[in-house]
């Protein structure tokens, strides 16, 4: 069964290659079938690998296979290695499982787009990249997968190529993630320098404990995690990423890719345990993000952006869990979140699809009355998101929150932030639900709603949403922190938790979190459901999303632009002799005899060249 992980990884790649190579030789719909079937095949391979692994004893479950040396230089060798262990198999199952459902859903959603083939080829590239990320057996392959998911994300956000906003959003996502890639690469350089290796076991054994180097390594990795998972301060790309088609938002920007940062911390937890300051920083940034995203979600009017901010907020919880060291619970929340957030996006997608692509909740208002199935699955997703018993979010979120009680005053602050976040979640999730799915349909919704052959959507869109709905109900049952711990036991050999709250703390937290979540729902009901309370005036600060975009625009884009223009005007054009007019201009300044220079092209260039040499000579002399 050693081949199963390779089959799992390579099937989606084969699909992408096949769709690209076939081009117009296959009907558009067939591209969707190829992509779906191969992803399901990858899921089957992951299941086979899982069954195989479960049959072994806990200490023999980790298996690394190398196909060839991908890169080497001198004494350093980095292999194309797949590591299949308890952690990666969980991720493989989640990624391939959720991807299968969402790609199957896309067959209905994307039907009629004139570039469906491109869409499905990109989706397959994404699945391959994400699997490379989680299956890679060393940090270099992790980084390779890391960059490739960023690339797929770029391609899919910018799928609607002629839409200016989509292209801008795609570029923004790529550049911000390139920043994360760069900080990760720097961490890898440090590891190469200090350990000479990049494979996980070797790095963990040899990396320094504590001190500046350990902190910098963890910080570099964290930079990558923050960018990929859209946490403060590298989060601004995610809401804009909603420019992509809805299945893309569900798959990449909710269920899988954006949670990669959590996987990274769980995978590299020894490096973060060697640098507890950075681990605490991760938890703190997670807590800050979950509050900020919850606040912004309160005032958004685009249905997908509300869910996007909710994603940021929920990943904030996962970062709290991973940063505090309760890795199995962070992974658990990653899994349940994949179910219910994909459900929310896909259910929203059915509504958007039925109302001619409209995403503004004021126009969608009351559409739930026309589409009862969507309304009920959306309710299931919302309840799971808020964490109401017995839906999936209840089991996973509360376990993370209670872990904060194991960490002194810092943990207490985070604990309060997490509970406040639970309240915000209740408000924004049900604000959305009450506005869009209850009450009388708006004129716009009535006018534009069109049923699909008497149904709310094509069959491929309904059965997949149904499966995700079921998973959002029962998916949380594999672990209930105070009572049973299937997932924690399974993950213990690779990611044993370092924060262990007592059972009493778990019970109290669960009770509190439910009550607070219900309070949030109650507030939302009073304002948006029963309309007993007037809608509060929204804050400009929230609507401007805390001014992060403006800050980056000023700090990075405008600065680069200004520096580049300055360099061109002050260095390139006059000194380097990029343009003849500039050269003649310089010569002419002193003599006012432009003709001299114009007649003497060679002389001008000789001058420019001599100037360059003189600069060089001065540099050489000065620096020595």
């Amino acid at each position: 069964m050693a081949a199963a992980p390779w089959i799992c990884l390579l099937l989606p790649l084969a699909s992408a290659v096949a769709i690209t190579a076939a081009g117009t030789a296959i009907p558009r719909r067939v591209a969707g079938y190829i992509s779906t079937v191969t992803t399901m095949g990858a899921f089957a391979a992951a299941v086979v690998a899982f069954v195989d692994m479960a049959g072994k004893s806990a200490s023999h479950r980790s298996d690394a296979t190398t196909s060839w040396t991908w890169l080497s230089a001198g004494p350093y060798h980095f292999g194309l290695t797949l590591l299949t262990d308890q952690l990666s198999i969980v991720m493989m199952l989640i990624v391939t499982g959720v991807s299968s459902l969402i790609i199957a859903y896309s067959i209905g959603y994307m039907d009629g787009e004139d570039e469906e083939r491109r869409f499905f080829a990109y989706m397959s590239v994404f699945v391959f990249s994400m699997l490379l990320l989680v299956q890679g057996g060393n940090l270099l392959l992790l980084l390779a997968g890391w960059g490739m998911v960023g690339l797929s994300s770029y391609l899919l956000i910018g799928y609607y190529q002629e839409r200016e906003s989509a292209i801008q959003a795609a570029k923004k996502a790529f550049v911000m993630n390139a920043f994360g890639d760069a900080t990760m690469a720097l961490a890898l350089f440090l590891l190469i320098q200090h350990t000479g290796k990049l494979d996980y076991a070797g790095v963990f054994a040899a990396s320094p404990h504590g001190g500046a180097v350990a902190n910098l390594i963890a910080l570099g990795l964290l930079g990558g995690a923050l960018a990929k998972s859209a946490q403060i301060p590298l989060h601004t790309w995610l809401p804009d990423a909603m420019e992509g088609p809805t299945p893309v938002s569900a798959l990449i920007h909710a269920a899988t890719m954006v949670t990669a940062g959590v996987y990274l911390i769980a995978r590299c937890h020894p490096l973060f345990e060697n640098a507890y300051v950075i681990a605490d920083l991760a938890a703190g940034l997670g807590a800050a993000t979950l509050l900020m995203a919850g606040l912004i979600a309160l005032v958004q009017t685009d249905i997908k952006r509300v869910i996007a901010y909710s994603t940021m907020s929920q990943i904030g919880y996962m970062f709290v869990g991973a940063g505090l060291g309760t890795y199995p619970n962070a992974m658990f929340h990653l899994m349940t979140h994949a179910f219910f957030k994909a459900l929310l996006f896909l259910a929203a997608g059915i509504a958007i699809h039925a109302v001619v692509g409209e995403q503004d909740i004021r126009k969608l208002a009351g559409v739930g009355k026309l589409m009862p199935f969507t309304k009920w699955v959306f309710l299931v997703g919302s309840l799971a998101l808020v964490g109401i018993f017995p839906f999936a979010g209840f089991f996973s979120k509360d376990a993370i929150i209670s872990a904060a009680l194991d960490r002194g005053w810092y943990g207490d602050v985070i604990y309060v932030a997490c509970l406040a976040g639970a309240f915000l979640t209740g408000v924004y999730a049900f604000r959305l639900f009450f506005i869009v799915f209850t009450g009388e349909p708006s004129a716009f919704a009535r006018e534009h709603f069109h049923a699909h052959h008497g149904q709310e959507g094509p069959i491929s869109m309904r059965w997949t949403v149904g499966v995700l709905g079921a998973l959002s109900v029962v998916g949380g049952l594999i672990q209930f922190a105070p009572v049973w711990h299937l997932l924690s036991t399974w993950l213990a050999p690779v990611a044993a938790p370092i924060a262990e709250p007592t059972n009493t703390q778990e019970w109290i937290t669960s009770g509190l979190a439910i009550l607070i979540g219900l309070a949030g729902i109650g507030v939302a009901w009073a304002i948006y459901g029963a309309k007993r309370v007037r809608v509060p005036r929204s804050l400009t600060l929230f609507e401007k999303k805390f001014y992060w975009d403006e800050l980056y625009d000023l700090l990075w884009y405008r600065t680069s632009d200004l520096v580049a223009r300055g360099l061109y005007a002050l260095v390139e054009a006059p000194l380097i002799g990029g343009s003849i007019t500039a050269v003649t201009g310089v010569v002419g300044l002193g003599s006012r005899e432009l003709s001299v220079a114009q007649n003497g092209l060679v002389r001008s260039y000789a001058l420019a060249l001599a100037g360059g040499l003189a600069v060089l000579a001065v540099v050489f002399l000065a620096v020595r």
Partner: protein
């Protein structure tokens, strides 16, 4: 023999074309055939090459001017093999592009292209300094003509600029070679010892920095790359620039260990300045060629960082990146030419846009090469960049941080260029008549892309088979 054959075949081909009584079309097809035969000979060489040995192979020596100790000495080290390989592949693509584009005065054009091929291969295999110099000059002369006759409207200015810069570089190099050779009593590079002369080192460095190019000696770049025809720009940026980097790698660094040690910081500064400066100007460039051109300056700076990292990570990474950039840059300039031909523009972004719709082949090629050129992880350019920066990191963290920042800048300028051509609103110069890539064009670009994708799956093919010998002056590169 095979090494000599690699030089002789294109030169003989050039002579054959000069006299063959054929029409323009058949002269072009003959040149294309010869360039493909050249690739075949290189593959034969690679197949017979012993990669486990780091010493000089396939060498041939014949006395030439015995009283001056000058000899015809050619041969290949492991890294030379890759230099030759990228040359024959890129030159074949450019020659075939010239054929496809139907260049006028075909006899002279194709003879010059083949002569150029032979000369560049000679530069990379010469093991005698004067022979090296002869090939270096022989490489420049066809270029003067190719730029001056087949260039754009402002080609005279481009030619003069190019000539002035290269002549200065050549004179410096000639002076340094003569003095160095007389000091050593031989011009045979395999027999020469090291020197600690700062002036000789600087003479070589400046000559090679002009060719590479490096800031601030890149003044010939903008006008030359914009005014030359697309395939000549591809040769200049993809291959000829590499001759400068090869000179640093083969001459300036191994023979001058002490000056290298003393000047290392300066070289690293020049490399990083070129890297950041080129990236920033590429971000502002108003046309496609401008972006590719300044990104070449940036890549050249990056490779210099690798060469002066003075460790095997940096060296192997630099060789890999040289091969990568040769392929990427050739493909990008040829694509620039294809875009310009379809739109009747000179690649100005303000006139382009929306070309992806209805042109899937063009969009796929530009997207694939563009993405590889910005070093997305898992691509071979990423592998090269990673090794270089990991190597230079050991000289100091600052260099790698600058390199990391330039990774972000690369994403910014390349995505801007891709979007400006392919996406958003249809540009004023893009008409319905602008067709997708034709089969002939795909036959030129696709092999380059296949090489790049193949290398991305296995960059170790080059990086693991590039190390310099560990003897004498090469010790800085020893693992």
């Amino acid at each position: 023999m095979l090494t000599t054959a690699l030089i002789a075949i294109p030169v003989a081909g050039a002579l054959l074309i000069a006299i063959a009584p054929l029409s323009s079309y058949w002269l072009g097809s003959l040149a294309a055939l010869i360039s493909l035969v050249e690739i075949g000979v290189w593959i034969t060489t690679a197949a017979r090459f012993d990669f486990s040995s780091s010493s000089l192979q396939m060498d041939q020596r014949a006395s030439w001017f015995s009283d001056l100790q000058v000899s015809w000495h050619v041969g290949q080290y492991r890294f030379s093999l890759w230099f030759v390989g990228m040359t024959v592949v890129a030159m074949a693509a450019c020659t075939i592009y010239g054929w496809w584009a139907g260049r006028d005065r075909a006899r002279a054009y194709f003879a010059l292209m083949l002569l150029l091929t032979g000369a560049i291969v000679g530069v990379f295999v010469a093991q005698d300094l004067l022979l090296f110099y002869a090939f270096f000059e022989a490489m420049l002369i066809p270029l003067y003509v190719l730029i001056g006759v087949w260039g754009g409207s402002d080609r005279m200015r481009a030619t003069i600029t190019f000539v002035v810069y290269t002549v200065v570089g050549s004179l410096l190099m000639l002076a340094a070679i003569v003095v160095f050779g007389l000091q050593q009593g031989t011009f045979d590079m395999t027999r020469m010892g090291t020197s600690s002369s700062q002036w000789l080192f600087l003479g070589f460095v400046v000559a090679f920095a002009i060719k590479s190019p490096l800031f601030p000696l890149h003044g010939w770049l903008p006008v030359t790359y914009r005014e030359s025809s697309a395939e000549v720009s591809a040769v200049l940026s993809g291959i000829v620039g590499k001759a400068g980097l090869y000179g640093l790698l083969r001459i300036a660094i191994p023979f001058f260990p002490q000056p290298v040690h003393d000047w290392r910081i300066v070289m690293l500064i020049l490399g990083s300045v070129s890297l950041v400066y080129g990236s920033l100007l590429a971000f502002r460039a108003p046309d496609f060629r401008g972006v590719v051109m300044y990104s070449s300056l940036a890549q050249s700076g990056l490779i210099v960082l690798g060469l002066f990292a003075s460790n095997s990570l940096g060296f192997d990474g630099a060789v890999l990146q040289i091969v990568n950039h040769a392929l990427v840059s050739t493909a990008l300039f040829l694509l620039a030419g294809m875009i310009e031909r379809r739109t009747g523009t000179r690649g100005e972004f303000s006139l382009l846009g929306g070309m992806a719709r209805g042109r899937p082949a063009l969009a796929t090629m530009i997207m694939t090469v563009g993405i590889i050129s910005l070093a997305v992880p898992l691509s071979t350019t990423f592998a090269g960049e990673f090794l270089i920066l990991a190597g230079v990191f050991q000289q100091g963290w600052l260099w790698a941080v600058i390199g990391g920042a330039s990774m972000v800048l690369a994403a910014m300028y390349m995505l801007r260029a891709i979007s400006a051509v392919l996406h958003q609103d249809v540009g004023p110069a893009v008409s319905e008549n602008a067709l997708d890539l034709r089969v002939g064009e795909l036959a030129i670009v696709v092999p380059l892309v296949v090489c790049l994708v193949g290398l991305s799956a296995w960059p170790n093919l080059v990086s693991g088979r590039a190390s310099a010998p560990t003897s004498s002056g090469w010790t800085q590169y020893a693992p």
